[in-house]
Symmetry: C3
Subunit: 412 residues, 3 copies
C-alpha cells in the first residue's frame, strides 16, 4: 500500500472512487481538473435529506468536471454488504452514467466483488438513486396512519361499549378483555374496513369515467394517491386478518372461556336440564366460521401474489385476474362472514348498550357501499359503456377523432 498525495494518486489510476462530501467538491476537485481528465470517477456520496440540493451530487460533479466520466454507484449499498459480499440484505448495486463504457467497467467491478449491478440508465437517474437510501417506507406511510387511526377509534368504541359499560352499569370488572377479546373485535373490523377501502377507489374511478365520458383526463390527485397505496393497504389488512385468525383459534385455550364453559355445564347439571341441540345454531355457527376461513384463504392468496417475485412471474392479465376477481370474492366472503356472525343482533335495538350498535356493524358500512356500487356497475348496460370508455371511446366524437390521431403514433 502506498500513501500518495491526491494529485499523484489520481494520476496513477484510471478509475477513482470519490468518497468526499458534496460541500468539498468545488475547491478540492477544481484543482485536480486536469489530472481527472478522461478518468472514470465514481460518485458514492449520499445526502442527509431527500432532495437536499436542486441537482443530484453526481450531476453536480459532472458539471464541475465535464471531461471526467462520472458514474453514480455504491451509495445504496451498506458497508456490511461491501465487506462480506453476502446476500444477507440486498446485494443490488444501482449504477448510472452517461458514459456506457465506463458504466460497463464499474458494473464489472461490482460483479467482481460478488454483488449484482443494476443498470439504471443515464445520469438523470442519479437523483432517484441518491434519494433511495434515505427513504423509510414512503409508500407505507398513508396506509399505516390510516390503519392506526381506525384502530384507535374502533378500540375506544369497543372499550366504551364493553368494558366501561360493564363497569358503570353492571359494576363488573371485565378489564381482562383488553388483552384478547377487544383486540379480536378491533382487528377483524379494521381489516374488513381496509379491505373495502382497497376497492372503493376503483369504483370511484369507474364512476368518474362514466360521468366524464372519457378515460383521457387525469383522476383527481387524492384518488391517484389512494390507488397507488392499495397494495400496502391490502397487506396491512391481511396482517390484521392474520392476527384475527390466531386470536380466534386461541379462544378455547383461554382460562376465561374454559371457566365459562365449565360453569355452564355445571349449571345445566344442577338445574337438571340439557339445552337441546339446535340445528339452526349449528348451521349458523358452522357457516360463519366456514365463510371466515375461505375469506382468509383468499386473503392469503392475494398476499402471496403481491410478493415481488410472484408478481414478476405473472403477466398483467393474470395479476388483474387475481387482484380483481379473487379480491372481490374475498370481500364478499368476509362481508358474508360478518353478516352471518351478526345474524339478527344488529337489528335488535333493545340490546344496544348506551344506544351504541355492536361494533361489528360499523365494519359493514364501507363493504356494503362498495359491493352495492360494484353491483350497479356490472349491470350489463353500464358495464358495456365503461368497457367502451376504457377501450378509448369518448362521448364527444370530435375530441375523440383528435385524440385518436394524436395517439395513433406517439413519438419520443
Amino acid at each position: 500500500m502506498e500513501v500518495l498525495g491526491h494529485a499523484e494518486a489520481a494520476q496513477k489510476c484510471p478509475l477513482i472512487i470519490l468518497a468526499v462530501q458534496r460541500d468539498h467538491y468545488s475547491p478540492f476537485l477544481r484543482e485536480l481538473e486536469d489530472v481527472l481528465d478522461g478518468k472514470v470517477l465514481v460518485d458514492v456520496s449520499n445526502n442527509l435529506k431527500i432532495n437536499q440540493y436542486p441537482e443530484s451530487n453526481a450531476e453536480y460533479l459532472a458539471q464541475l468536471l465535464p471531461r471526467a466520466k462520472v458514474i453514480k454507484a455504491f451509495n445504496t449499498v451498506s458497508a456490511w454488504s461491501l465487506q462480506s459480499g453476502t446476500l444477507d440484505a440486498s446485494s443490488q448495486v444501482f449504477v448510472c452514467s452517461d458514459d456506457n463504457t465506463a458504466k460497463q467497467r464499474v458494473m464489472d467491478i461490482v460483479r467482481a466483488i460478488g454483488l449484482t449491478p443494476q443498470d439504471k440508465g443515464s445520469l438523470l437517474a442519479a437523483k432517484e438513486i441518491e434519494n433511495y437510501p434515505l427513504q423509510l417506507f414512503p409508500m407505507w406511510r398513508l396506509p399505516i396512519y390510516l390503519c392506526a387511526g381506525l384502530t384507535v377509534l374502533v378500540f375506544l368504541y369497543c372499550v366504551i361499549n364493553d368494558v366501561v359499560h360493564s363497569a358503570v352499569v353492571l359494576g363488573k370488572d371485565i378489564s381482562f378483555r383488553l388483552a384478547i377479546s377487544i383486540p379480536n373485535k378491533v382487528f377483524p373490523i379494521v381489516s374488513l374496513m381496509l379491505l373495502a377501502l382497497i376497492y372503493l377507489p376503483g369504483v370511484f374511478a369507474a364512476i368518474i369515467q362514466l360521468y366524464r365520458g372519457t378515460k383521457y383526463s387525469r383522476f383527481p390527485n387524492w384518488l391517484d394517491r389512494w390507488m397507488l397505496c392499495r397494495k400496502q393497504l391490502g397487506l396491512v389488512a391481511l396482517s390484521y386478518a392474520f392476527l384475527h385468525a390466531i386470536y380466534t383459534l386461541v379462544i378455547p385455550i383461554r382460562y376465561y372461556v374454559r371457566h365459562r364453559i365449565a360453569t355452564n355445564t355445571i349449571a345445566q347439571v344442577k338445574n337438571n336440564e340439557t339445552s337441546p341441540f339446535s340445528t339452526v345454531m349449528a348451521w349458523r355457527s358452522d357457516s360463519y366460521i366456514a365463510l371466515g376461513i375461505l375469506g382468509f384463504f383468499f386473503y392469503v392468496l392475494l398476499g402471496i401474489t403481491s410478493l415481488p417475485s410472484v408478481s414478476n412471474a405473472v403477466n398483467w392479465r393474470e395479476f388483474r385476474f387475481v387482484q380483481s376477481k379473487l379480491g372481490y370474492l374475498t370481500l364478499v366472503l368476509c362481508t358474508g362472514h360478518a353478516f352471518v356472525f351478526g345474524w339478527n343482533r344488529f337489528l335488535n335495538v333493545a340490546n344496544f348498550k348506551w344506544y351504541m350498535p355492536p361494533a361489528y356493524t360499523l365494519s359493514l358500512v364501507i363493504p356494503c357501499i362498495v359491493l352495492i356500487l360494484k353491483f350497479i356497475l356490472i349491470i350489463p348496460c353500464i358495464d358495456k359503456r365503461i368497457t367502451k370508455i376504457r377501450q378509448g371511446w369518448e362521448r364527444s366524437s370530435t375530441a375523440q377523432e383528435d385524440k385518436k390521431f394524436k395517439n395513433g403514433h406517439v413519438t419520443i
Copy 2:
C-alpha cells in the same frame, strides 16, 4: 406539443413507437418505407388470440420494412405501470430485437421511465413476448381441473356416506355438516391424493428407464406433461392442506362440538360414572396430531422453496434435496397421519355404511402405491442400476459407444 402528419413526424424522430394494429401495417407503413429507413421502430402491438398469425407482429414488421430496426417492447406492460411507474404489479419490460444498439437504446428508455428492461434476445423471441400477455395461468389448468374433479367426487362420496345415510337410515338431519365437517374430510383426502400424484410420475419415469435400459429416449408425452405441472399440483395440494389445518383448529369453537362435549359430560355425571383415562387413546390421538403437524410443516417448507425468488437462490442440488428428500418425508408423514387417524376403523367392515368404506381410506390408495414402488426402487441393487442409467450408461453397449461419441462434443 406539435401535431404533425405521419411522414413529417417520422422524419423528425430517430425512434418511433408504433401503436398501429397489425392489419393496418401493410398499406400504411409501405408508404413510409423510405422515411423509416434506419429508424428505430418499436412494435408495441398485441393480438387478440395466442398464435393468431403464423409469424409474430414484430417479425412481420421487420419483413415489411427490412431497412428499419424493429424492436419488440412494452406490449407486456399495463397502461397503469406506464403511467405510474410503480412496482404495484410487475415492472418488467420484455425487449427483443436483432439490432443490439437499437435494443440498448430502447432499454435505456425503459430505465428512464422507472421500469426494468428484460433482454429477451433476438426477434425470434417476439412470438413468445406477444403470446405472454394473453396467457391466463396455462400451467395451472391441468392441476386445477384435476383437483376440482377429485374434490367433487370425494365431496359426493362423503355426503352420501354421511349426510344422506344419516337422513335415510337414521332419519336425522345433520345437513349442517356440509359447512365444516364434510369439507374437512374432502380437503385432506384430496390433498394427500394430489401429494402422491406429484411423486407418481417420477416413479413411473424410473421404471420406464429401467425397462428401456437407457435415459436417451424421450418419455411418453403424457408423462412429460404430468412432470411439468408437478409444482402447480404441489401448490394446490398445499392450499388444501392449509385449509384442512384451519378447519381442524377451528373445531373446538364450533357450537356442535361444544354441545356434544357438554352433553357427554352431563351424561357421565347422571350415570355417575367417569370414563377411565386410556393411555392408548392418548398416544393415538397425540401421535396422529403430531404426525399431521410435522407433515404440514414440511409441506409449507416445500411451498416456500417453490417461490421464484427462493428457488433462484438455491442451486440444483439444493433444490432437488428439498423437493425430493423433504418431499418424500412429507408424503410419509402425511400418509402416517392418515393411517394413525384411521387406526383400526378401515378394517372393520361391519361399521361400513351401505358397504362404503370410510372416505379417508380412499386417500390412502395412491400414497401407498407410490411409497411401495419407491421402496422397491431404492433397494440397493435396483437403485444402483438406475443411478448408472442416469449417468449415461446404456444396456446395449454398441449404442452406448456411439452416443458417447456424439455427446463428447455437441456443437451448436
Copy 3:
C-alpha cells in the same frame, strides 16, 4: 445431423460447447489448438468436489488455449431445465468470460433457449461458478447443528423432568406426552434461545468497538462467522416458533386435554362446589397468550422480509429498521410471553422436581442477558460514543488523522 471427427467439427463451427472432463483437456485439446484459434469455447464442466483443483477448469482451459475465447456457462443448470426450459427450478445461467463479445453471444444463446443469463463478470468468477452447484446449504450448516444440539439437550431435560420423574417418583406412565406436550416445550424454548442468539453477536460487536475505541479493526473470526449466519438462525428460530404455534392451537383437540377438562368439571359437580372466577388468572392467561401472538406476528414479519425478493425491494435503512427495531420488539414480546407464562413458578424452589427448575426458565437466560446488555448500550452517553465510533471517530487521534487521509480517496 452429421457425424464428424473432432477437428472437422470444430473447424465448421464458430462456437463450441466443450463437454469433456478436465482430465482429458490436455492431450485432447492441444492437438486441436490451431483449429480452435479464435473460436468461442464454452466450458460446461463440473468437478466432484469443491476447490478440487488450484484453478478453475475454465481458467485452466484458457491457459491451455490462450488464443480461444473461453466462456464458463451452463454448468449450474440442470438437464431438466435445459430440456424443458421451464421455471420449475431456477432458470438462471451464470456466465463469465474475459471476452465481452463472446460472452454477449453466449448470453444470447441462453436467452434463445428460454433461460435467463446472469453476467458474473470476468473468468475470475469461474471458480465460484464451478463450486456453486456442489454446495449443499453451506450457510445453513452451523445454525442447523446448533439448533439440533439445543433441541436434543432441552428434549432430554424435559423428558427427565417430566416423564421419567413421573414414572420413578409417582409410578405413573405419562409417556404419551412425548408426542405433543414435550415437543411443545422444546420448540418454544429453543426458538427463544435462538432468537436471542441472533442479537447477542451485535451486542458483542458494540462492546468490542467500545473497548477498542475504533471500528477499523476486524472482529474476531468466530464473531464474523456468527454474524454471517444470523439470517439462517432466524429462519430456524421462526420455524420452531411456527411449530410451537400449531402445537399450542391443537391443544383443545387432544383426547388427554378433553378428558382432563371433563374429569375436572365432573369433580366440581360431585363436590358441589364451583371454582370461583379469578380476574387475576384471566388477566394472566389472556396477556401471556396475547404477548405470544404479537411476538409470533412480528416473527413472521421478520421472516417475510428475509425473502430474497422482499429484501431486494427495500433499501438498507428499511432493512435495518425491520431487522433491528422489529427484531428487538419481537425478542421483548417473546421474552415477556415466557415470563408471564411462568409467572411465579420459577421462584418456587419447593416445586422443583429433583431440584431441576422448570424447563422454560432455561429459555430465559440468554434473552435476559441480551436485553440487559442492550439496555445498557442504549443509555444515551454510551450510545453517543458508539454512534461516534461507527461514524469513523477513533480514540487515538493521530491514528485517526492517518486513517482519514487514507479513507479520503480509496483507489482501486
